[in-house]
């Protein structure tokens, strides 16, 4: 009953708001006539005490100054190699808020409302997908309040949190708005709305952030990319709770200040916003049963399983992604970090994960690699180096912002090379006593090399032997003919690449160069990924840790026989115990 009343009230309010909206068409900001649905006027918080500010300075100069800079201009020593860059506090522009577009975020040092103290929540939970870590457990609650008192009063210079003349607070009443159940109907409406509201223009047809990805700049002129809705753990506003639809609802309602992401509060009803949020939330990567992926609380990313299982198939390995065998094959999340061990180091890697599945038959093993890349990159013309060359002339990302060659100047402005993927497996892995392996980066030496299969977006599929991080690759004779590219397709911001290679055997393959894939064994496997639009080539790339390819053996017959024998044995044992007991009770001795 209550629900239906509130619903009706909501509809009436929405209708009323619709009228207001129509009458003020053309105004994009909050008009004086009415507030967007779901918002209420709030009071500005009082100024924090002088002691808080002074104590906060001490926190700031121990922890924050290194990235955010002495004057809070987001220009500390760490800033130049980060992208997204650390926040420049001076303008008072903050991304994640409960307040209307353009307004200052909520921050109350004296009487904080739990969950609604925006800046405090940001410091507590960090901004996933950026270098801002969660400070919970590192700084006490009081210290977090103190440092924010310092930042909001001393480092926000162009605006004043307590100035009633220039500032207002229109607060999204998120706690009072009950999320709409994520029914199919709601998600379907959301899917229509994201087209109608032009979300797809930036976020892409499938929401992989591949829309208008190249021309977007933030308020300071730095390049910026639309969010990829399939990686909710990277949402800045996820508050370490990525599958919570309320976070999406909030970001969508308030917009992201300082970026091209506007607030949609003025042209959507609360109901529509829940539909959109439900749809966007449904896109985030899930397991085969549709459940959210388990998130590792230490990294705020999906939990990693280092074993990539490969299932056996009879006959030809299917190339159709919709095939039953591929749908059943377990899909593994492979985390990718920038290659920062040797020059040229890749501080800003734009590929942070790939998804791997695998199948095998008696002759071949196939890897299906999928990864999100906002841009399809194919180098124009011939690359100025041989495919085998390792020590190529690619510049490391330079540290100084403003100067030529800096990351900020370069971002989205690199010479475009090929997107590429590399699968590296240990050669002679059985000869090395576990856990010893050849080194992850192109092998240890001539004696313990790596077998590298590399696909590039120009359509080439090559096989190399790696003998050290700084040694040029060696071509493997005729091996390329034995491999086959089953699929290589870029659709709406995602690459689908299917690579087939022989499982090999000692008889007719070169034991010194090729990996033999043996059923039921752990074969050390490393993945490399290159994003051509990030200027990735050679050692400038993203790299994974050691994973293991494990070809699942077909279930052996004994598995069905022995348990039955054991069960029968237990029955016999039971009989013996019972007989013994009853005999004992009757006073008989055996």
């Amino acid at each position: 009953m209550m629900d239906s009343i509130t619903q009706k009230a909501g509809i009436i309010a929405a209708a009323a708001f619709g009228v207001v909206l129509v009458s003020t068409a053309g105004y994009s900001s909050v008009s004086a006539q009415g507030l967007p649905e779901g918002f209420k006027k709030g009071e500005l918080a009082p100024e924090p005490s002088a002691e808080m500010i002074e104590a906060g300075k001490r926190v700031y100069f121990t922890k924050c100054v290194w990235c955010h800079g002495v004057d809070g201009a987001g220009d500390g020593p760490g800033a130049d190699r980060l992208w997204p860059r650390p926040r420049n506090f001076n303008q008072g522009t903050f991304k994640i808020r409960h307040t209307a577009s353009g307004e200052l975020p909520l921050f109350d040092a004296k009487k904080p409302v739990p969950g609604q103290n925006d800046l405090f929540e940001t410091v507590t939970h960090g901004l996933p997908g950026s270098a801002m870590p969660p400070w919970e457990g590192i700084l006490s609650e009081e210290q977090r309040q103190q440092v924010l008192s310092f930042v909001t009063t001393q480092l926000v210079k162009d605006r004043k949190f307590t100035d009633k003349q220039s500032e207002s607070q229109t607060i999204l009443q998120l706690a009072d708005l009950k999320p709409k159940p994520a029914t199919d109907e709601s998600k379907k409406r959301g899917a229509e709305l994201i087209v109608e509201k032009k979300c797809v223009e930036c976020h892409g047809m499938e929401g992989r952030g591949d829309g208008n990805a190249f021309n977007l700049k933030d308020d300071w002129g730095f390049s910026i990319q639309p969010a990829n809705w399939h990686k909710c753990w990277n949402f800045r506003g996820s508050r370490q709770d990525p599958y919570n639809v309320s976070n999406i609802f909030r970001t969508f309602s308030t917009g992201v200040n300082g970026t091209p992401m506007p607030s949609f509060a003025d042209n959507t009803t609360v109901d529509e916003r829940w539909d959109i949020a439900n749809f966007v939330n449904s896109l985030c990567e899930r397991d085969t049963l549709g459940n959210p992926l388990p998130i590792d609380p230490l990294t705020d990313k999906p939990k990693i399983n280092f074993v990539i299982p490969s299932d056996p198939v009879e006959g030809e390995i299917p190339t159709d992604l919709e095939h039953e065998a591929w749908k059943k094959a377990p899909k593994r999340y492979v985390a990718m970090g920038g290659q920062i061990t040797h020059k040229p180091r890749n501080f800003v890697n734009r590929l942070d994960d790939i998804w791997v599945r695998s199948l095998y038959n008696d002759k071949h093993i196939v890897y299906l690699v999928e990864w999100d890349d906002r841009t399809k990159s194919v180098a124009e013309g011939k690359l100025p180096w041989a495919p085998t060359q390792v020590n190529i002339d690619i510049k490391e990302q330079d540290p100084k912002t403003g100067e030529e060659g800096s990351i900020a100047a370069h971002q989205n402005n690199y010479a475009v090379y090929n997107d590429a993927i590399g699968i590296e497996t240990a050669v002679k892995w059985k000869e090395l006593p576990a856990p010893i392996k050849p080194r992850y980066l192109f092998g240890t030496s001539e004696q313990y090399p790596m077998d590298i299969v590399k696909w590039e977006a120009d359509g080439s599929l090559r096989a190399f032997k790696g003998t050290g991080w700084d040694k040029d690759f060696e071509e493997r004779d005729n091996y390329e003919e034995a491999m086959k590219l089953l699929k290589a397709e870029w659709v709406n911001g995602r690459w689908y690449v299917m690579i087939q290679r022989p499982v090999g055997n000692k008889k007719d393959q070169d034991y010194d160069e090729d990996t033999f894939f043996e059923v039921g064994q752990y074969i050390p496997t490393v993945f490399f990924a290159w994003d051509g639009h990030n200027g990735d080539a050679g050692r400038k790339m993203a790299v994974s840790a050691f994973y293991y390819t494990f070809m699942n053996p077909p279930v052996p017959q004994e598995t069905y026989i022995y348990p039955v024998i054991i069960a029968v044995g237990v029955v016999l044992l039971e009989g013996w115990v019972l007989t013994r007991r009853s005999n004992k009770k009757k006073g008989k001795t055996l």
């Binding site: 926190v59 100069f61 121990t62 290194w66 210290q143 074993v307 061990t341 180091r345 348990p563």
Partner: protein
């Protein structure tokens, strides 16, 4: 005695409710946080609390005439232990280790229930009752066991025999033995005699007391001492170099070792072994400055085999930094974590 026991019972009930609430998400699972670096001691304390709690609880129940049979006490405690190990301890312990703890737990429980003849009789009484099956209920129970046991054991063995692909366990030495000396940028440094050239007082003299007086304070937040701000322009000596070291750290190292030097940087999630956590009292706090100098200069590729040189992505920093820069970063790491480097004497 009674008051003491009721207190124990209270602890037990509160602890169980809290734990249960956290498992089933009734209260946030972060209500009682595991603090990094203190986890083992914290877990031991927690288990001790539960033991006290259970003792109190069983005493109280006894006093109220609702005594739980020794049989169920033993089984209950063992199940509690297994559940605790599986769901409470983070990062998760592998099954093989849990099985070991479980066996030790089982032995302990057996020792406890068979401490004297009377207890042992009490313990086995319920089993005997079911075997003898003198009442109707017991008879049903007996037949249920007769049917269920073979099915369960058969099922478990089938499950155990199915081919599995669990990640192989690989144990790595985090601090392998250092060499006697190391050659960086053409100069040989003897680890036993080398000193950090930037651990100096404003007059430029090596001064450990001066630097130790200026590191951050231990305790929550590890904040700098109010008058030891490395960003003060007037600094000479130690603090000036700390700042320079910090600048290098935040241009090179924080990507893995993290903004708070706790090993949770931007790229850390992708790597295995995970980057070292310098705030953990088991890392740089246990080592000499020259050891760190060697590790930083030579990186993962320079490790002996027990340190997994093939898997570590730690750069050999001599390829990227000068000797001076490396010493300054080492200086900064000790300043920021508030630890004193160990000395040779």
């Amino acid at each position: 005695m009674k008051a003491l026991m009721s207190l124990g019972a209270l602890i037990g009930v509160a602890g169980l409710l809290l734990l249960g609430g956290m498992f089933f998400d009734i209260v946030p699972s972060s209500t009682v946080r595991l603090v990094e670096g203190y986890m083992p001691i914290q877990l031991l304390l927690e288990v001790a609390c539960y033991v006290i709690g259970f003792t109190g609880l069983s005493y109280m129940m006894n006093a109220m005439g609702m005594a739980i049979p020794r049989f169920w006490q033993g089984i209950g405690f063992w199940i509690f232990l297994m559940v605790y190990l599986k769901y409470r301890v983070y990062p998760p312990i592998p099954f093989s280790v849990r099985a070991m703890y479980g066996t030790v737990g089982l032995v302990t429980v057996f020792m406890w229930i068979s401490a004297n003849e009377e207890d042992w009789t009490k313990f086995k009484q319920p089993i005997m009752n079911v075997l003898d099956a003198q009442t109707g209920g017991k008879r049903i129970l007996r037949y249920a066991y007769l049917v269920l046991l073979p099915i369960l054991i058969g099922g478990f063995s089938f499950n155990a025999m199915l081919p599995k692909s669990e990640e192989p366990i690989e144990l790595r030495t985090v601090h392998p033995a250092p060499p006697a000396s190391t050659k960086v940028h053409g100069k040989t440094y003897t680890l036993q005699t080398s000193q950090n050239p930037y651990r100096v007082n404003p007059e430029g003299k090596y001064d450990q007391e001066f630097s130790n007086a200026n590191i951050v304070e231990q305790g929550m937040g590890r904040l700098m001492k109010p008058n030891s701000n490395p960003w003060d322009e007037k600094n000479q000596g130690y603090l000036k170099y700390v700042r320079e070291g910090g600048e290098i750290f935040f241009q090179n190292c924080h990507f893995c070792h993290g903004d708070n030097l706790n090993g949770r940087g931007l790229h850390a999630f992708a790597f295995n072994p995970i980057p070292a956590n310098f705030t953990d009292p088991g890392t740089i706090a246990q080592l000499q400055e020259t050891f760190i100098f060697w590790r930083v200069s030579k990186g993962g590729i320079g490790l002996p085999n027990e340190g997994f040189p093939w898997a570590s992505v730690m750069p050999p920093w001599e390829q990227h930094l000068t000797v001076d820069e490396i010493w300054k970063v080492v200086l900064f790491e000790y300043w920021h974590t508030g630890y004193y480097p160990r000395t040779w004497d």
